[in-house]
Amino acid sequence: MPPGASITAPGAVASVYSLVAANGSYLLHADGRCIAERATLDEILDHLESTLHFHVAVAARARLFVHAGVVGWNGAAIVLPGRTHAGKSSLVAALVRAGAAYYSDEYAVLDDEGLVYPFARALGIRGDTGRTRRVDPRTMGKVGDGPLPVSRVIVTRHVAGAEWCAEPISPGETVLALLDNTLAARSRPADALRILTAVARRASGFRGERGDAGAAVEQILTVS
C-alpha cells in the first residue's frame, strides 16, 4: 500500500485488480484486462505497488506529486526531479548512505506551502540486469518523518563516465523542471503553478550530468 495509507469504510469501487499465476509467470489484471506479466511474484507485486502509487499520485487533491527523489539534509529537503532511468533511486540510496534522511525515491509530495512530505516506500535499486530489487531504507540509514522546506532542486541524470557538473538555474527554470515531472500538471495547473513557485522562491536550482552516484554525493550535499 502507499506510504501513509489507512483502512477506511468501503466506498465506491474505482478499479478491481487481480493476480493470476499461469504457465510459470504472473499476470496482473485491472478491471478484467491484463496490464502486466512478470516472471516472479515479487516482480508482479512490485508492478502492482507502482500502479497503485501512480493512481494515488494522480488522484490526490490535498497534495501535489512530483516524480522525484527526495532526501532531507540539514533541516531541509533536496529534491531530484526526473523520469525513470534518470538514476534517481541509486542517487537517493547513495545520499542516504552518506547520512541524508530518506524521503522518497519516487515522488516529492508537496503541500500548499511547498513543504515536502515523506513518501518512504522501499527503495527500488536497479541491478546490472535491469531488474529492480526492493531495499528497506531503514537498513541504509535514516528515514524522514516530517515535512521539510525545499532548499535545493537538482536536475541531474546519470551519464556513464560523466564528471559531476551542475550549473545554477533560475527560479523560473526550476519551476519548469518541476512542472515537467508533475503528474497533475494538466489537471490542476493552477495548484501546480502556485505550489511550484512557492518551492522555487525558497530553493536554489541546479542542472547537470553526473557519473557514478557515489562520486556525486558530496557535491550534491554541498552545492549552493
Binding site: S25, L28, A30, R33, I35, A36, E37, R38, A39, H47, S50, T51, H53, F54, A57, V58, V66, H67, R83, T84, H85, G130, R131, S170, P171, G172, E173, T174, V175, L176, L179, D180, N181, T182, L183, A184, A185, R186, S187, P189, A190, A192, L193, R194, T197, A200, R201
Partner: protein, 140 residues
C-alpha cells in the same frame, strides 16, 4: 505598433524577476526572463514600441531601443502570448544576430536578451515513468 498581451486562457505567477505563464489551451508553460516579462507586461495595447523601450531603459538601467522590443515581441508571439501579431509582422522581426549587433554598444548584452523558455505540460504517464503504467507489453 501597439502590442497587446494575450489575456484569456492563461495562468500567471511570478518568481523572482521572472514570469511563469501556463497556457491552459495549449498545455504549455513558459518562463519569461526579466526583460521579456517587462515587455509582456507593457504590452497593453496603449504603449508604443518606443514607450516600451523607455520602460526597459528605466527599469533595467540600460539603453534599450525598438529593435530589442521587437525581438522580445517576436519571442512572445512565437509562443502565442500576444494578440494580433501576424506572420508578416513576425517576418520583420530582428534576428538574435541583428539584436546583438545593435545593442552591443548600449549594454543590453550585460543583462541578457529577452528570453522565453517553453515546455509542454506532461500527461500523468509522461510525468511518472514508463514502467508503472498499464498497458504493459510484458516482462522486462
Amino acid at each position: 505598433m501597439y502590442p497587446r498581451a494575450r489575456q484569456h486562457g492563461l495562468l500567471v505567477d511570478r518568481v523572482g524577476d521572472e514570469t511563469i505563464v501556463f497556457d491552459e489551451e495549449r498545455k504549455e508553460a513558459h518562463s519569461l526572463n526579466r526583460m521579456a516579462s517587462i515587455v509582456w507586461q507593457q504590452s497593453d495595447g496603449k504603449h508604443s514600441l518606443s514607450q516600451i523601450a523607455a520602460v526597459l531603459t528605466r527599469e533595467l538601467q540600460v539603453e534599450a531601443n525598438e529593435t530589442i522590443v521587437l525581438y522580445a515581441l517576436d519571442k512572445l508571439a512565437s509562443v502565442h502570448l500576444l494578440e494580433g501579431i501576424d506572420a508578416t509582422e513576425r517576418d520583420r522581426s530582428p534576428t538574435r544576430r541583428d539584436v546583438m549587433k545593435r545593442v552591443a554598444a548600449v549594454g543590453i548584452a550585460a543583462v541578457g536578451l529577452p528570453a522565453v523558455l517553453t515546455m509542454t505540460a506532461p500527461t500523468p504517464a509522461m510525468a511518472a515513468s514508463g514502467d508503472t503504467l498499464p498497458p504493459d507489453p510484458g516482462p522486462d
